[in-house]
């Protein structure tokens, strides 16, 4: 196998001596190569490339315009968002203010009502107290009269002689007052 490969290599080397592949030996290949390349170059330059380059330039322009439009739309959207935020903040402030005012008004109303009710209650209480005092005074007056009469009657029973109720009433009243006075 190795011998065969070496034969192959030797033959290749031997055959390489026959021609020099670096030197172009067929003029027709140079001629036609030049003709076809220059033809390709000319056709590319004037026929093949321009339509594609043109449409590419149009696309680039379109993309650029779209980008600018998108940029403008984005700026506009940003402005709208800022306006919205400002409006929202304003509305929130207004709502807060209204709420505060309502709260203050409610507080004032409540204060007024509470004060009115308290005043009313105080008046009613004072009236009740006055009435109570009057009732008490009346009850005390009546009670002291009854006690005096009862005491005089009891005393007249003890002494077995009629006592003058009117003359002893002040003594009984004085006693009642001293014993049943303020506690």
């Amino acid at each position: 196998m190795l011998a065969q490969v070496s034969v192959l290599a030797a033959e290749a080397a031997e055959s390489a001596e026959k021609i020099n592949p670096v030197v172009p030996d067929v003029v027709g290949e140079i001629f036609w190569g030049a003709v076809f390349f220059f033809l390709l170059w000319i056709l590319m330059r004037y026929v093949c490339l321009p339509p594609l380059l043109r449409v590419r330039a149009q696309r680039d322009a379109q993309v650029q315009a779209d980008l600018e439009a998108a940029e403008a739309a984005s700026t506009q959207a940003e402005q709208v968002r800022r306006d919205y935020d400002a409006t929202l903040a304003e509305a929130r402030g207004e709502a807060s203010r209204v709420l505060e005012e309502a709260r203050a008004a409610a507080e004032a109303t409540r204060g007024q009502k509470v004060a009115g009710v308290e005043t009313e209650i105080a008046a009613e209480r004072q009236a009740a107290m006055a009435e109570l005092d009057a009732e008490r005074a009346a009850a005390l007056g009546q009670l002291s009269g009854d006690v005096a009469d009862l005491a005089v009657a009891a005393a007249s029973k003890v002494v077995q002689a009629p006592l003058d109720a009117a003359s002893h009433r002040s003594t009984v009243d004085d006693y009642v007052n001293r014993s049943g006075g303020p506690r």
Binding site: L8, K18, P21, V27, I30, G33, F36, F37, L49
Partner: protein, 273 residues
């Protein structure tokens, strides 16, 4: 007409086998790179398989671009999309990095160069053709001369004769060193550049072509030799792998040639850089 097909390839191999007494014989190199004339033999317009491939390499991009551009739409689809991608590729990978925005005027030339080389190369792996046009020196030579004339022309157009001065006498170099630097620059810029451009393309494609022929010969020979047929398990996958590799090389060499041409033009536009 001998046709595009490599009909004479089996005869080459058979002849090689006959001549060697049954062993494995590699066909002579002139049998795998030289092709008989279809017409005009010995004249300047001699036409053969290589020139036919060059014709195809001219025709295919023209047809593709014409079809793509015929009903081009703002939103590309199908072939228009593919061709626009190829334009974008040459523009963004070749023109803009090497020359800059002012290099857009050279886009048609560089696209033509790229497609002419690529399609010429791709025939290396097209079944029944199996011959890259650029494995012959003619096309690489023509293209290298075009690149050479182009970058010198661009340099003179934009910088006048001062282009030669700045190319041969680079600024910032001590004057005494010009004795050394100027001949080196003269050789490297104006003589070796086109030569290296042409030889790089030609040698890569020729080497690939020889590689594929070698493995093809090996496979065919082993197929007939029953004792060694087991080696096919190695040699045939290698042939397939090298075919894929050559597919990539075809594209790569077209890209490198176009890119270097663009770099030379860019250098001629701004010689001070």
């Amino acid at each position: 007409m001998p046709g595009l097909a490599l009909l004479n390839a089996p005869s080459i191999l058979l002849a090689a086998e006959d001549g060697g007494g049954g062993g494995m014989h590699f066909p002579p190199i002139d049998h795998i790179v030289k092709w008989p004339a279809w017409f005009g033999e010995g004249t300047f317009y001699e036409f053969n398989k290589i020139t036919f491939i060059s014709f195809i390499a001219m025709l295919v991009p023209v047809i593709l671009f014409l079809i793509a551009g015929r009903k081009s739409k703002l939103v590309p689809s199908g072939l228009q999309n593919v061709m626009e991608v190829s334009i974008d590729f040459v523009e963004k990978q070749v023109v803009l990095p090497a020359i800059g925005p002012e290099g857009m005027r050279y886009l048609p030339m560089l696209i033509s160069m790229f497609f002419f080389i690529w399609i010429g190369n791709i025939f290396e792996v097209i079944p029944s053709a199996h011959m890259p046009a650029n494995a012959r020196m003619a096309n690489p030579l023509v293209l290298a001369l075009v690149a050479w004339a182009m970058f010198i022309g661009v340099g003179v157009k934009h910088n006048g004769l001062g282009y030669f001065k700045s190319a041969l006498f680079p600024p910032g170099v001590p004057k005494a060193l010009y004795i050394l630097v100027t001949p080196i620059e003269l050789l490297s810029t104006f003589i070796i550049r086109p030569f290296s451009l042409a030889v790089r393309l030609f040698a890569n494609m020729l080497a690939g072509h020889i590689l594929l022929v070698t493995f093809a010969v090996l496979c065919i020979t082993l197929w007939s030799a029953s004792v060694l047929a087991g080696v096919l398990v190695l040699s045939f996958p290698m042939l397939v792998a090298f075919t894929g590799f050559e597919f990539m090389v075809a594209f790569l060499q077209a890209f490198i040639f176009s890119l270097l041409t663009a770099v030379y033009i860019g250098g001629a536009l701004h010689p001070a850089h």
